[in-house]
């Protein structure tokens, strides 16, 4: 007969407030197999755990049921407690009477009845638990970082410093990411390139870091400690070994293309290096716009190249590599403007995005950083900055605040005044959010020293009128409608994840929220881990954040990856499927539904009535199996059973829960 102990937690008043603990204890004692039912104000506290350990030994319990919060919170804690008392950790079941009961029901009687039912279900399941032993498997001591922005670079550097090999994959021809496009950074006005390029050079020079630029991840398989990733390194059409980076080729190249790096404000050649400080400083041929690849004419770059490094025959290289940990740092895009017609973006060259402003004010940007009006190359007099374009907008844009626009707009106002002392900045805002070190002070400098006029209220409409822009706004503090004749309108656009973030999330098997930001394991307690073990998140791919936070997160993600790679072996989750070979007919329906290809067929020879008989049965590779249970549902005779969620257990739970 089972000797089951039921421990009911008050959780302070979280459970006790709407669940009558006495009734629950009394009911629990009557349940089949239960020999002990007790409670504690805080079951997960030291005293609570000591009470469990003591009772296990004293009552010689062989199963434990904890009625407390969600198993996603403390299942591990209580398993460790049971193990400490000598009980196999997988003989512990949790009844979720807090999140699923006391917190969501107000009527005490109904909540108590439900709590008893949930406990009865857990007891029924615990009675059929079997002791399980986790398996060990080897960890590949190599990390992969996806995305070569500041987050990716920082994570790669930290992991490499810890002595592990890192592959840094970047889709564009050079690492640097969004930060390379910026001119100055708030709040210290350091020049963005000055603080970024040293890290880029370190990353390129570091013996443990292998830069894979102009490359994309195509396929990810496997699981924590044993990821198998296919990376497509697109052909650069330039031999990296021979190229000296002299730049003759992209001087002579005839075909001009809009430069993505300069947000389309300037032109680059078909063979190009995105920006002067690019790392690696090796040009790439954009085959869609190169006349050689489209019409087999030209080939000037090949002719003028002194090191004859140009090689049109280069083809993509598919790299297959095993990794122990993956850090995702794919960065952000700005929101599309088609749905915000009232700002007239695209109708007038002087209506630009904040990123375009960064390029205009940057020395290596179009116009050499003189910040001139794109329409007539004149210095702007009145410049209007508009906050929250697409952010905090429930109807057409994104409901969230993009966090960094208030600060970089203040920075823009300062930069504007430095470039054109006589210019006047108008900033339309709802709230100025300066929650960071020296942020408020920096904002006040923009207002006090650089005389930026802050108008509280959003812009109604921007009317292009000749070469001027009529901006209809409002100042709700002085309650006046305001119309400004502006030379330049800068839109602080909402941050969104990369356009293909959802596809990457699906490929990696990590969650993405309604806006396609990647979902962290726990917003407060596990911000840099994803739900999938071994996959870590860093930077704006997980939500809007500024550079200091991104770097901090990159370091944290690297630390998690290093902790994982430090382990020789990892313990696998023992809740995997097991085959009852006497029932299995070898139909292999399980093999067809298994997403991890963990099932294979195994010939079996057995003696039947004195004769040898050979037949096929299914076999589970315990290391590959992730315990989803699709096979046990697809197995008609029930030969395939998922340990921890077996047919017997689930059936017992259904029977118990319906009583």
């Amino acid at each position: 007969m089972r000797r089951i102990g039921v421990f009911i937690c008050w959780c302070g008043t979280n459970i006790a407030a709407t669940v009558d603990i006495e009734t629950v204890i009394k009911e629990a004692r009557e349940m089949p197999g239960v020999v002990y039912a007790g409670d504690n104000k805080y079951m997960c506290s030291e005293t609570g755990q000591t009470q469990i350990k003591g009772t296990i030994v004293q009552q010689k319990l062989d199963r434990v049921v904890i009625a407390s919060c969600s198993p996603r919170m403390h299942e591990l804690t209580f398993r460790k407690t049971a193990a400490a008392a000598g009980l196999n950790p997988y003989l512990v079941e949790i009844a979720n009477v807090r999140e699923h009961c006391s917190w969501v029901h107000k009527d005490k009687d109904a909540a108590t009845v439900k709590a008893v039912a949930l406990i009865r279900t857990a007891v029924a399941k615990a009675a059929l638990d079997t002791g399980l032993e986790p398996q060990e498997f080897v960890v590949t001591r190599r990390a992969l970082v996806i995305g070569g922005g500041i987050a990716g670079i920082q994570a790669a550097l930290d992991i490499a410093e810890a002595g592990y090999a890192v592959d840094l994959v970047e889709r564009t021809p050079s690492i640097g990411g969004r930060m390379a496009q910026l001119d100055k950074t708030f709040p210290t006005l350091d020049c963005s390139a000055c603080i970024l390029t040293p890290k880029m050079v370190d990353a390129a020079a570091h013996p443990n870091i292998n830069l894979l630029t102009y490359s994309e991840v195509e396929e990810v398989e496997g699981y924590v400690g044993n990821f198998e990733v296919t990376i497509r390194q697109k052909a650069r059409s330039v031999d990296a070994a021979k190229c000296t980076g002299c730049g003759l080729c992209f001087e002579k190249c005839p075909s001009k293309v809009k430069s993505e790096f300069d947000e389309g404000l300037a032109l680059r050649k078909a063979i190009y290096v995105p920006f002067p400080q690019a790392v690696p400083n090796i040009p790439v041929i954009d085959r869609d716009h190169c006349r050689w690849f489209s019409k087999k004419k030209c080939g000037v770059c090949k002719k003028v190249c002194p090191a004859s490094a140009v090689d049109f025959e280069q083809s993509d290289v598919l790299i297959k590599q095993k990794y122990g940990a993956i850090v995702v740092a794919t960065g952000f895009d700005l929101i599309g403007f088609e749905i915000f017609g009232e700002f007239g973006y695209g109708k007038h060259p002087d209506i630009i995005t904040s990123m375009e402003f960064e390029r205009l004010v940057n020395a290596s940007g179009p116009g050499g950083g003189k910040l001139l009006k794109p329409s007539n190359q004149q210095p702007p007099k009145n410049v209007v900055f508009v906050h929250c374009v697409g952010s905090r907008d429930k109807s057409r844009g994104k409901p969230y605040c993009s966090k960094i626009c208030c600060m970089y707009t203040a920075k823009h106002a300062v930069l504007l005044k430095e470039k054109h002392p006589e210019a006047q900045a108008y900033v339309f805002y709802i709230d100025v959010r300066t929650a960071g070190k020296d942020f408020e002070e920096f904002h006040r400098r923009a207002v006090e020293e650089y005389a930026a006029v802050y108008l509280r209220g959003l812009v109604g409409k921007v009317f292009p009128s000749g070469d001027k822009l009529l901006v209809n706004g409002v100042d709700t503090l002085s309650n006046q409608a305001v119309e400004i004749e502006a030379d330049l309108v800068v839109l602080a656009a909402a941050l969104t994840p990369r356009h293909d973030a959802e596809g990457l999330a699906r490929m990696l098997g990590i969650g993405s929220d309604a806006h396609n930001f990647f979902v962290e394991a726990h917003p407060k307690l596990r911000p840099v881990e994803s739900h999938t073990a071994g996959l870590f998140l860093a930077g704006t791919c997980q939500g809007p954040r500024d550079i200091p936070e991104t770097v901090a997160q990159a370091g944290a993600a690297a630390a998690k990856a290093i902790a994982l790679l430090n382990k020789e072996t990892l313990l696998s989750d023992p809740c995997v499927s097991a085959v009852d070979e006497s029932l299995c007919t070898g139909c292999l329906a399980c093999l067809k539904v298994c997403p991890y290809k963990a099932i294979s067929d195994k010939p079996l020879t057995e003696k039947v009535h004195g004769r040898q008989r050979r037949r096929l049965v299914a076999e589970v590779n315990k290391a590959l199996c992730q315990g989803c249970g699709a096979c046990s549902a697809a197995c008609r005779p029930g030969a395939m059973n998922l340990l921890g969620f077996s047919n017997e257990q689930l059936l017992a739970e259904v029977d118990a829960i319906c009583l």
Binding site: G457, L458, G460, T476
Partner: protein, 122 residues
């Protein structure tokens, strides 16, 4: 307030005073209290002060504010509800039958006369 929500069906507390409606409103120079202030006063429950204002009669129901509000609050419907409360309960027709002849000028389309009456009389 409850009556206002009933007629308009709008959730006034959604508004976070960004002022976009005032910026977009073509007739805001002629208003004593601006559109975003109307919502602010309603949020604070000061319905009387709004009902006394000139604003609700100057509003041309051109839906510009509704189209651009980031919180999906349809201010044009709120304005109509305010007028409805005044016209229905307080009998304050803004346009009397007898002063019509001098207002109607030659060639004014029926659309103007009918919509004018619909907005200003019980």
């Amino acid at each position: 307030m409850q009556e206002l929500a009933e007629i308009s069906g709008e959730k006034i507390n959604d508004c976070y005073q960004c002022g976009k409606c005032t910026a977009a409103c073509p007739v805001n120079p002629f208003m004593d209290i601006l559109p975003h202030q109307v919502l602010r006063l309603l949020q604070l429950g000061q319905v009387e002060q709004v009902l006394q204002s000139k604003t609700i009669w100057v509003c041309a129901t051109c839906f510009t504010c509704a189209g651009r509000c980031p919180r999906d609050v349809d201010l044009s419907v709120v304005m109509e509800a305010l007028r409805a409360i005044l016209l229905r309960q307080r009998g304050g027709s803004r346009l009397k039958g007898e002063d019509m002849p001098c207002l109607i000028r030659k060639g004014m389309p029926e659309q103007g006369i009918v919509s004018g009456f619909r907005k200003y009389t019980k």
